[in-house]
C-alpha cells in the first residue's frame, strides 16, 4: 500500500465519485420516477409520460450505465494512486 496521505487522497476521491453517482441514482429513480412525476406529466417518452417511463424502464438503464461508469472511473483512479491489483 502507498503511504498514508496518498491512501487518504485515494479514499477521498472514491467517496466523491460515490456521492456524485448516488445523486444521479436518486434523481432518476426517486426524483423523476416518483416525486417529480406529477410535475412532469406534460413531457412524453413515446406513449408514456416521463415519470412513468423512468419508473418502469428508464431508471434501470441509468443504473446500468452508472455502475459501468463508476467501475471505469475507479479503475482510472486506482492506477493514478498506484493501488490497482
Amino acid at each position: 500500500m502507498a503511504d498514508k496521505s496518498s491512501a487518504n487522497a485515494y479514499w477521498a476521491a472514491n467517496v466523491r465519485i460515490i456521492l456524485i453517482s448516488l445523486a444521479v441514482w436518486f434523481v432518476c429513480s426517486y426524483g423523476l420516477g416518483i416525486l417529480l412525476r406529477p410535475a412532469l406529466k406534460g413531457i412524453m417518452v413515446g406513449g408514456a409520460d416521463l415519470g412513468f417511463w423512468f419508473a418502469q424502464n428508464g431508471s434501470i438503464y441509468v443504473f446500468i450505465v452508472l455502475i459501468f461508469v463508476y467501475a471505469r472511473m475507479m479503475g482510472k483512479i486506482d492506477k493514478e494512486h498506484g493501488v490497482e491489483e
Partner: protein, 651 residues
C-alpha cells in the same frame, strides 16, 4: 406430439444439462465450495447473479402484480426500481470492499470488522431468518410449476426439485451452483422474452417489448399509444387507470427504498461477489448482473401492460377497435368452440381463472364492481351458501327469506351503480363474471393467449423451474456456509480441518435442503407475508451494518451490535403489529389497513425506517463507548484499497 410430452422433453433436457454441469464442477476445497475458488469471470458471475436473484416471484408473479394491481400498474414500479437499484448500492458501497476482505461469508466480515463473536452470531441469526423465509417461496414455486405443467402433484414436484438441488448444490457447492445458474439464466431469459416479443408484435408491431411499452396500439393503426388505449379500456370498465398516480407517494418512496437497500443487504446476493478474481471485477460484475437482470425487468412492465390489455380485449371483443361496451361481451359458446380461446378452460381447471355467468345471458362480463355492488353480491353469495349447506330437515324459511332480502339489496345496488352513462341494472349486469384472475396467469398463460407454438409453452415451464431452482440453490448455500463456516468452524470448533469443514458444509447443505423441502410441503400459512420480513430485515440489519463497517472507522463493536439489534427489533415489531405476532393470525394489535399505519407507512416499507434506526443507534452508542482497536482500523484501511486482494485460483 401433445403438450405434456413436449413439456416433459424440454424440462428433461434442461435438468440433464444441470446435472451434467454439477458432475463437471465438483468442489474439492472449501474455497471452491463457498466461493467457487474466487475464479469466476465477471460476466459469467453477472449471469449467475441474475439467475440467483430472479426468483420464482420475479419470473412468474411480477408482471401480473404490475398488470392487475387495483391501484394501477404505475404504483407497482416500486418493484422494478427497487429490485434493480439495489445493485447500484452493491457496486458502490459493498461489493468491492467485501471482495477485498477476501473471506467467504457475510457474518465473517461482521465478526472480524466488529471484533466480536456476538456480532457475528447476531448476523448469522439475521441471515438465517432472511434466507429461510425466502427459500420457502422458491420451493413452493418449484412444486407449483411441476403441478401445472407436468401433471404431477405439487408434493411430488417438490421432491423432484429438492433432489435436483441436492445433486448439484451438495456436490458442487458455490462452484456447481454458479455454473448451473449460468445455464439456468439462459433458459429463463429465453423463456421470458420469446412470448413477450410475440405479444409486443401483435399489440404494437414492435419486436422490442421495451419499445412496445411506449409504442402505438397496432390494431387501431398505431395512432393511439398502447398505454393510452389500456387506460381508456380499463377506466371504461370501472377499473382505476393503469398509469394513475400513486395514492401515497411517501409510502411508494419508502417502499422502493426498502426494496433497494433490502436487495443490497441480502446475503445470498452479496456472497456472489466473493467469487470473482479481483476487486475491479466485483465492481464490473455488479454492472453485468444488472444488465442480465434488466433484460427481464425492463420486459416485465411491457408483459404486464400488454397481457392486461390482451385479457380485456379478449373478454370485450368490441374494445379491440372501439370501446369495450360497444359490442357484447365474450360468449361462453365462443370460449368452448374457438380453439384460440381453449386456454381459458385450461387455466380455469388449474384454479387460476374463474368465471360465473351470474346473469345467465351466456356471456362473461368482466368489469370492476363498485364497492356497494361487490358487498351486496358477497352477502347474496353467503346467503345462498347458507341455504344450500343447510341440513335437509332444517327449517329453510328464514334462510330463503335472507336470500330474497339479499337479492333485493343487490338489485338496489345495481340500479344505483353506473358503468359509463348507464346503470348496471340497465346494462343487465349482475356483477363481475370473471371472478378470479390470478397474478401468475399473466406470465404462465401468455404463450397460449398469444397462440404461440407448443415448444414456447414448454420453455416457459422450464424457465419457471430454472428461476425457482437457481434462487433456492443460492439461498441454501448462504444458509449452509453460515452454519458450517460461521457457527461450527467460527464458534464451536475453530481447529476444524479443511477436509472436515468441507464435510460439514455438505452436511449443512443437506440439512438445509431437507428443511426447505419440508417447509415447502408444509408452508406456514403466512408464507407470503414473510417475504416482507426478509426484505425489511435485510434493509434494517445487514445493509447498514456492512456499510458502516466499511465507511466509518469509528463505529465499534458496541455500536454495531446495538444498531443491528435495534433495527431487527424495530422492524419486526412494526411488521408483527399489523401482520400478527410471529404471524399468528388474529394476534395483530392494529388492523392491516392504510388508515391505521403510522404516517401512512405500510409494514412492507418499514425496512427503510429500520435502517435509519440502525444507523442512528450505532452512531450514538459508538460515540459513547471507546473507539475500535488499531488492528481493526488497519483492516478497514486495507479493504478500502484494491491492491493486494488474494491471488485468484483458477480451476
Amino acid at each position: 406430439m401433445d403438450q405434456f410430452t413436449l413439456n416433459l422433453i424440454v424440462v428433461g433436457i434442461t435438468f440433464a444439462i444441470y446435472i451434467g454441469i454439477a458432475i463437471w464442477a465438483r468442489a474439492g476445497s472449501t474455497a471452491e465450495f463457498y466461493a467457487a475458488g474466487q475464479g469466476v469471470p465477471p460476466v459469467m458471475n453477472g449471469m449467475a447473479t441474475g439467475a440467483d436473484w430472479m426468483s420464482a416471484a420475479s419470473f412468474i408473479s411480477m408482471a401480473g402484480i404490475i398488470a392487475l394491481a387495483p391501484a394501477g400498474g404505475y404504483e407497482q414500479s416500486a418493484f422494478l426500481m427497487g429490485w434493480t437499484g439495489g445493485y447500484v448500492l452493491l457496486a458502490l458501497l459493498l461489493a468491492p470492499y467485501l471482495r477485498k476482505f477476501g473471506k467467504f461469508t457475510v457474518p465473517e466480515f461482521i465478526g472480524d470488522r466488529f471484533y466480536s463473536g456476538g456480532a457475528r452470531l447476531l448476523a448469522v441469526i439475521c441471515l438465517i431468518i432472511i434466507s429461510v423465509t425466502y427459500v420457502i417461496g422458491q420451493m413452493r414455486g418449484v412444486g407449483v410449476t411441476f403441478s401445472r405443467f407436468l401433471e404431477v402433484s405439487t408434493d411430488t414436484g417438490l421432491y423432484i426439485g429438492g433432489a435436483l438441488v441436492f445433486i448439484y448444490a451438495v456436490l458442487g457447492g458455490m462452484k456447481g451452483i454458479t455454473y448451473t445458474q449460468v445455464a439456468q439464466y439462459v433458459v429463463l431469459i429465453i423463456a421470458y422474452t420469446v412470448p413477450a416479443i410475440f405479444i409486443s408484435l401483435q399489440l404494437t408491431g414492435s419486436a422490442l417489448p421495451q419499445l412496445g411499452l411506449i409504442g402505438g396500439y397496432a390494431p387501431q393503426g398505431g395512432e393511439v399509444s398502447m398505454l393510452a388505449k389500456l387506460d381508456s379500456v380499463v377506466t371504461e370498465l370501472g377499473f382505476k387507470a393503469y398509469t394513475s398516480d400513486s395514492a401515497n407517494m411517501f409510502n411508494m418512496f419508502l417502499f422502493t427504498m426498502s426494496l433497494m437497500i433490502g436487495t443490497a443487504g441480502l446475503p445470498h446476493v452479496i456472497i456472489r461477489f466473493f467469487t470473482v478474481p479481483k476487486v475491479a471485477d466485483a465492481r464490473s460484475s455488479a454492472g453485468w448482473s444488472l444488465v442480465f437482470i434488466a433484460l427481464l425487468y425492463t420486459v416485465a412492465p411491457a408483459v404486464g401492460s400488454m397481457a392486461r390489455l390482451n385479457l380485456t380485449t379478449t373478454f370485450w371483443p368490441g374494445a379491440e377497435t372501439g370501446t369495450a361496451l360497444s359490442a357484447p361481451a365474450l360468449s361462453i359458446a365462443e370460449i368452448d368452440s374457438n380453439p384460440e380461446l381453449s386456454w381459458i378452460r385450461t387455466w380455469e381447471k388449474t384454479g387460476l381463472l374463474a368465471m360465473s355467468d351470474k346473469n345467465g345471458d351466456g356471456m362473461i362480463q368482466y368489469f370492476s364492481e363498485p364497492k356497494p355492488v361487490a358487498d351486496a353480491g358477497k352477502a347474496l353469495a353467503d346467503a345462498q351458501k347458507a341455504l344450500t349447506d343447510a341440513a335437509a330437515d332444517a327449517d329453510k324459511a328464514p334462510l330463503e327469506a335472507k336470500v330474497a332480502e339479499a337479492t333485493t339489496a343487490l338489485d338496489a345496488a345495481l340500479a344505483e351503480a353506473k358503468l359509463g352513462d348507464k346503470t348496471l341494472a340497465e346494462l343487465g349486469f349482475k356483477g363481475n363474471e370473471l371472478t378470479k384472475v390470478d397474478n401468475d396467469i399473466m406470465v404462465l398463460a401468455n404463450p397460449e393467449i398469444a397462440a404461440l407454438p407448443g415448444w414456447v409453452v414448454a420453455l416457459v415451464a422450464a424457465g419457471a423451474l430454472a428461476a425457482a431452482l437457481s434462487t433456492a440453490a443460492g439461498l441454501l448455500l448462504a444458509i449452509s456456509s453460515a452454519i458450517s463456516h460461521d457457527l461450527i468452524k467460527g464458534s464451536i470448533n475453530p481447529n476444524l480441518s479443511e477436509k472436515a469443514e468441507l464435510m460439514w458444509a455438505r452436511v449443512a447443505m443437506t440439512g438445509a435442503i431437507i428443511v426447505a423441502t419440508y417447509l415447502g410441503l408444509n408452508p406456514p400459512g403466512f408464507a407470503a407475508q414473510v417475504v416482507a420480513l426478509a426484505f425489511g430485515l435485510a434493509a434494517a440489519t445487514i445493509f447498514p451494518t456492512l456499510m458502516m463497517g466499511i465507511f466509518s472507522k469509528r463505529i465499534n463493536k458496541e455500536g454495531a451490535i446495538a444498531g443491528m439489534f435495534a433495527g431487527l427489533v424495530f422492524t419486526s415489531v412494526y411488521i408483527f403489529m399489523y401482520k400478527g405476532w410471529f404471524f399468528f393470525p388474529g394476534t395483530n394489535w392494529l388492523p392491516d389497513t392504510p388508515d391505521q399505519y403510522f404516517f401512512g407507512i405500510s409494514p412492507l416499507s418499514i425496512g427503510t425506517i429500520g435502517a435509519v434506526v440502525n444507523f442512528v443507534v450505532a452512531f450514538v452508542v459508538s460515540g459513547a463507548t471507546k473507539a475500535p482497536p488499531q488492528h481493526v482500523v488497519d483492516l478497514i484501511e486495507s479493504i478500502r484499497v484494491p491492491k493486494g486482494a488474494g491471488q485468484a485460483q483458477s480451476h
